[in-house]
């Protein structure tokens, strides 16, 4: 069966709304939580897909930004919850329980760290880039473990979900709505970026950096902008994820999460707009159903992944539309 990619995309988004809608009617709040989890993981993977799919940079450390977003939420909400000021040395700021404020901080911090790490790592390429991004994420992981003020290894619990003006975020369906709208907005942004001169140049730099240089563009600068944008989006997802669980811990920085984000993209299809969304839905579905059947569901995930890598290029979208994925 060969389908038009636009139709596939529309169907996926429709499905992602229909499932929690149905769950609301039959009163299954847990299913709504699952859908919210899928939407947030999709958002994180959309961020990664900008550098991985369009830019061709295999970042094996995107959990770093996910964790930064999570800790941005955790720290702000912790100070609001304990009525203590956050002392930055030169300035003291209040905590916050307002989602928009937290999102801005999460994206700002992630973008800043992405810029610094990008400047360091984008001088390298290939295997070096993979290992170095992994190592930097691990650095933050160990830092979070040793940072006793914010829970250290045990993490930080936030008792009340942060608020959004005009909505009751504690109602699962309303929180899902927030996450879904954010996901759609970011997907829209992603589509616009992909079609913009910047996106085209980035794509070209993946295919041949030398030629891009020859027409007067700097591939490293293009990649740096993409890396910062990508980090900010994944950071935003991290803040939402922390709000979903009302809990942050060093495991948000863990290298398995970085690996899983890449896996989501591969399952869906590399460099596809909706690849991460399909991948996240399938991943959360597998996790739920296989996880219910056996404690060892990671074996099956590993086997599926091996088959996709060895035999099926292009992921699910490639399968449905008959087009191969981007070569990274």
């Amino acid at each position: 069966m060969r389908m038009n990619e636009t139709w596939v995309n529309a169907l996926v988004l429709l499905g992602l709304v229909a499932v929690p809608g149905w769950a609301l009617m039959v009163d299954e709040p847990f299913t709504i939580t699952l859908a919210t989890r899928a939407a947030i993981l999709a958002l994180a993977a959309v961020g990664l897909n900008i550098v991985l799919g369009i830019g061709g940079l295999v970042s094996f450390g995107h959990a770093l930004f996910f964790g930064l977003g999570g800790y941005a939420m955790g720290i702000l909400a912790f100070h609001a919850q304990t009525y203590s000021a956050l002392d930055l040395g030169f300035i003291q700021i209040e905590g916050s329980t307002s989602m928009p404020v937290i999102w801005l901080v999460a994206m700002g911090v992630s973008a800043l760290v992405a810029a610094v790490i990008g400047i360091l790592t984008l001088r390298t390429s290939g295997v070096y880039f993979i290992m170095i991004t992994l190592a930097f994420a691990q650095m933050f992981y160990y830092f979070a473990i040793s940072w006793a003020q914010y829970g250290g290894e045990d993490g930080l619990s936030i008792y009340v979900r942060n608020g959004f003006p005009g909505l009751n975020t504690l109602a699962p369906i309303q929180f899902f709505g927030i996450c879904f709208v954010v996901l759609c907005l970011v997907l829209l942004l992603n589509a616009r970026v992909q079609a913009s001169p910047f996106g085209l140049a980035l794509n070209a730099a993946r295919q041949s950096a030398t030629r891009v240089e020859a027409v007067g563009l700097d591939p490293i600068k293009l990649r740096l902008v993409a890396f910062v944008l990508s980090g900010a989006i994944t950071g935003l997802a991290g803040a939402l994820f922390a709000d979903l669980n009302r809990f942050v811990s060093p495991s948000m920085f863990s290298w398995t999460l970085s690996g899983e984000l890449i896996v989501l993209i591969i399952i869906g299809g590399v460099g596809r707009l909706m690849g991460p969304v399909i991948g996240a839905c399938i991943f959360v579905g597998l996790e739920h159903f296989l996880g219910g059947l056996t404690d060892f569901w990671h074996i099956y995930l590993g086997a599926i992944l091996l088959c996709i890598v060895l035999f099926g290029r292009g992921g699910v979208i490639g399968l449905l539309t008959g087009k191969e994925g981007a070569h990274v």
């Binding site: 290939g126 190592a135 040793s146 940072w147 690996g259 990671h298 091996l306 890598v309 060895l310 990274v328």
Partner: protein, 306 residues
């Protein structure tokens, strides 16, 4: 802060460093010869540790455990090379990362399936237990001293193997030009399997040796794997000499940083805060070292290619 403590910590750092070298040597060898990034190397470390703990538990002999670790890891390495890895040599790095990530999932969960979630324990052999007195009156665990000796010995053996034997010549030739040595009649696919099994055996040996001073559990391989990555990024990917220098640097930085940074901070901060910021900085020490090396030399200390 006495001289004895400093020497003890330097020995601890060396011991950590040579064990990292065993891991990193295999990784860098596999990358140098086959151009493959192998995330499942940490799983082979775990396989070695579990094999050693299981066999030593059954027979009561640490030596048999070590032999079992070498054999099991080399066998597992040869097996995954022939079934999976062989198809990835010409594939993109992303595919290599994913396939070996999948192997980690399969190995970790498979081991949990067989051995359960509880850690196993591997005892230090009686002949090597207890402290030994070094010149200068320093008491140091004999086992850790033995680890340093074994690590250095394996390093020397590896150097002899690569520089002085026929298979070493083939390995070096394979790094430079795989078509040419295939044309000269070397069975390249057998050579790759042998190199992969050799790297796996080194990882398994490290797992078994370290397993006796830590607990043997699922997931023990990945933190070491990531440290080994840091080592070979610092040393230069593909260079065994780089892996050796990098491993010692990382081992010493991590061990000495954890002990001395809090002490250093106490000079200008009060005790509790110094302890906290010192250990937080120490936990990031090796990554800062890596960042510094990369700014100075983007391909590592001894790396030739990117």
């Amino acid at each position: 802060m006495s001289l004895i403590l400093i020497i003890e910590q330097i020995l601890n750092g060396l011991q950590f460093g040579v064990m990292l070298f065993l891991m990193a040597a295999g990784l860098t060898l596999i990358f140098g010869v086959m151009g493959l990034i192998n995330l499942a190397h940490g799983s082979l470390y775990m396989v070695g540790a579990f094999a050693a703990a299981a066999v030593a538990g059954l027979t009561g002999s640490f030596l048999l455990g070590l032999i079992a670790a070498l054999a099991a890891a080399a066998l597992a390495g040869a097996l995954i090379e022939m079934v999976v890895i062989r198809r990835l040599y010409r594939a993109a790095h992303l595919d290599q990362v994913l396939a070996t990530f999948a192997l980690i999932l399969i190995f970790s969960e498979g081991t949990r399936w067989v051995f359960g979630s509880f850690p196993l324990f591997l005892d230090i052999p009686a002949a090597l237990s207890g402290p030994v007195t070094l010149p200068g009156g320093i008491e140091y665990p004999l086992y850790r001293l033995a680890l340093i000796g074994i690590g250095l010995g394996v390093g020397l053996g590896l150097w002899l193997l690569i520089e002085r034997t026929r298979i070493g010549i083939q390995i070096r030739a394979g790094e430079n030009d795989r078509e040419m040595i295939a044309a000269l009649g070397v069975d390249i696919s057998r050579l790759y399997t042998v190199v992969f099994a050799l790297g796996a055996a080194l990882a398994g040996l490290a797992g078994a040796l370290v397993g006796a001073i830590q607990s043997v559990q699922v997931g023990m391989g990945e933190p070491v794997l990531i440290l080994a990555f840091v080592v070979i990024v610092i040393g230069g990917i593909g260079s065994i000499r780089g892996a050796f220098i990098g491993a010692l640097l990382v081992g010493l930085t991590d061990t000495l940083g954890g002990v001395f940074l809090p002490e250093l901070f106490k000079l200008f901060m009060d005790g509790g805060a110094a302890q906290k910021s010192g250990s937080a900085l120490a936990s990031m020490g090796i990554y800062l070292l890596m960042g510094a090396v990369l700014i100075w030399r983007p391909t590592g200390l001894f790396g030739a290619r990117a």
